[in-house]
C-alpha cells in the first residue's frame, strides 16, 4: 500500500512533469490535453465537496459548469462586439479580463447553488438526485432557447481572454494558470475537510440525528457545502470555456454532470486527489481509446464497473487502502 500523501505528491509532480516534457518535445496538443484534465479535475474537486464530504449525490453539477462557461461567453461576447451587457440601472460592459470573468462565474454559480440547494435539500436520496437532474435539464433547454447568446450553436470567442502578465494564448501559460487554481482549490479542500465545518459536515453525512442533538443544523451544513461545491465547479466552467474559446448548451448537459461524477468515482469519492486521478484517467482514455474507436465509452464503462464492484474507494482506495482517521 502506498501512503496517500506520497501518491498525492507524485500526482502533483506528474501534473508538472508532463507539460514540461511536452514543451521540450514540442507537443503543444499534450499541454492542451493536460489543461483539459486539470480543468475537469477542478470541476470534480467542486463536486467532491458536496458528494464526498456532504454525501450529496448531485446529478446536476453541469449547471454550475455551464453557468461558469456562459459567464465567460457572455462577458467576452459583449467585449468583442463592443456592446454593453446592460445599460440600466447601471452600465455593465463586457470584459476580456480573466479575473473579472472568474469573479462573475463564481458569483453567478454561487447564487444558483443557493437557490438549487435550498430547494433540493428539502429532499434526500433518489429524489435529491432527480431534482438536481431536473435543474440541469432546465438550464440545458434554457440555454438552447436563448438565441441572444447563440442558442443551440453556442458562442465562440475569437481570442482567449487575458490574464495580467501572461500570454494566455501560449498553451503552457494557460496550463500553468489552471494548475495553480487547481492546486489552490485542493489546498482549500484539504483545510476544509479538517476544519470544524468539515468535521460537522462529515458527521451530518453519516448521522444527521446526532448532529441535530448537539445543536447543529445538518441541512444548513449541507447547503453551505453545496454552495462551495457549486462555486468551484462554476469557476472550472469559466476555465473550460476559455480553453475551448467556445461555450454551448452541452456544458449544461446531464452527460457532463455524469462525467464530473465519474471523475470523482474513478479517483475515489471523498479522497482529496480523487478528482485529479479520475480526470487524468478520463482524459487519457478519451485520447488513447478515442483514437481507436468512437465507442470508447464502452471501455470507460467497463473500468467504472470494475472500480465500483471491486474497489469502493476508487483508484486511490485500491492503491492506498482506506483513508486514515488521524494525521
Amino acid at each position: 500500500m502506498i501512503r496517500e500523501t506520497h501518491l498525492n505528491i507524485g500526482l502533483v509532480a506528474l501534473l508538472m512533469a508532463i507539460p514540461v516534457w511536452a514543451l521540450i518535445a514540442d507537443e503543444p496538443f499534450i499541454i492542451t490535453l493536460m489543461t483539459r484534465a486539470v480543468v475537469f479535475a477542478l470541476a470534480a474537486v467542486g463536486l467532491n465537496i458536496a458528494l464526498g464530504l456532504g454525501g450529496l449525490v448531485s446529478l446536476g453539477h453541469a449547471v454550475f459548469f455551464g453557468i461558469g462557461g456562459y459567464a465567460m461567453g457572455i462577458l467576452a461576447h459583449h467585449a468583442q462586439t463592443y456592446t454593453p451587457l446592460a445599460e440600466w440601472p447601471l452600465l455593465i460592459e463586457g470584459t476580456k479580463s480573466m479575473p473579472v470573468i472568474w469573479l462573475a462565474a463564481i458569483i453567478a454559480s454561487t447564487l444558483a447553488a443557493v437557490v438549487i440547494g435550498i430547494l433540493s435539500l428539502r429532499t434526500a436520496g433518489v429524489y435529491f438526485i432527480m431534482i438536481t437532474l431536473a435543474f440541469g435539464q432546465m438550464f440545458f433547454f434554457f440555454a438552447i432557447s436563448w438565441s441572444a447568446y447563440g442558442g443551440e450553436d453556442g458562442l465562440s470567442i475569437y481570442v482567449r481572454n487575458g490574464f495580467p502578465g501572461l500570454n494566455t494564448l501560449v498553451p503552457v501559460h494557460y496550463f500553468g494558470l489552471c494548475l495553480v487554481i487547481l492546486l489552490a482549490a485542493l489546498f482549500l479542500n484539504a483545510r476544509l475537510a479538517k476544519s470544524p465545518f468539515g468535521l460537522a459536515l462529515n458527521a451530518a453525512r453519516q448521522t444527521p440525528a446526532r448532529v441535530e442533538t448537539v445543536g447543529l443544523d445538518p441541512t444548513r451544513l449541507k447547503l453551505v457545502a453545496f454552495v462551495i461545491s457549486g462555486a468551484i465547479t462554476g469557476l472550472a466552467g469559466a476555465l473550460f470555456a476559455d480553453l475551448n474559446r467556445f461555450v454551448s448548451p452541452t456544458m449544461f448537459s446531464w452527460q457532463l454532470s455524469g462525467e464530473i461524477m465519474i471523475f470523482v468515482i474513478i479517483g475515489g469519492v471523498g479522497r482529496l486527489f480523487g478528482p485529479v486521478v479520475g480526470a487524468l484517467v478520463f482524459v487519457a482514455l478519451e485520447h488513447l481509446l478515442g483514437g481507436l474507436s468512437d465507442y470508447w465509452h464502452i471501455y470507460l464503462g467497463i473500468l467504472l464497473l470494475l472500480i465500483v464492484l471491486f474497489g469502493r474507494g476508487g483508484l486511490i482506495g485500491i492503491l492506498c487502502g482506506r483513508e486514515r482517521v488521524h494525521d
Binding site: L192, G198, L199, L216
Partner: protein
Amino acid sequence: MTDPILKTHALTRYFGALKASDAVSVDLRPGEIHAIIGPNGAGKTTLIAQICGGITPSSGRVEFMGRDITGLTTRARSREGLGRTFQISALAMEDSVLQNAVLGALGASGRPWRFFGPALKDSVLRDQAEDALRRVGLHDHLHKRTAELSHGQRRQLEVAVALTLHPKAFVMDEPMAGLGSGGSKQLTSFLDGLRAEAPILLVEHDMDAVFALADRISVLVYGKVIATGTVDEIRANAEVQKAYLGEDT
C-alpha cells in the same frame, strides 16, 4: 421542594388509533435520577422523542427550566441544555472517537462556520472533548475508528458526546442496552456521580441499574404512567408488580 428542571404536562400522542403516550406527566428535579421503566412497547422512546424533539405531541406540553419547549426544534432544545443519548448509537462510525467527541464540543460552542483551521487543533474543543472521553474511560482510544469500538465502548462514547454539551439535564435512552454486567456496573457508578452535575431522566431496561441508581421511578404501561415513587414504593406497589415486574420475576 425545589422546582423541577424538566416537566411534562399530560403529554399525549396518537399514532392513528394507538395512544402511544397517554397524558404522561413526569418531572425531573435537580440532583436526581428519575428512571422510566416499562415493558416493551410501553411508549418510552416515544416519550423521549417528545421531550427531546423529533415527535410532536398530539396534546400536552414540555417545560424545561421554566420555559415551554414543546414547539422548539431538536437543535434548539439541545442548545437550551438538554443532553440526549440514543438507544441505538448514533455516532459517526467512519470518524475517530476523538472526532465524535469534538463534534459535541463544536455543537456546544455553536460556532461550526469555520472553514480553515483544523478542528482537532482547536485547543478549546479538543480539551473539552478529551476531558469528556477521559471521564468515561475512553481516553486510550482517541484515534481509533468508531466502527472498531466494542459495543460497550460505543455506549460510553454516546455518554461522552452528551457530556461535552455540559447539559442542564440528561435524557438517556437505555444507556446500558447490550452491555455486559461489568460494563453495566461501571456505567452505573459513573451515572451515580453524574447526577450531582445535572439530573438524569433515565429510560432503562436493566433493573439492577435502575434499582441501584434511581431516586424516583415512573412505571409506564401502554403509554400511561401507572405509578411514580421511590424504589421501595415501586417495589411494593401491587399494580406495578402485576403489570410489569411480575412478568419478569
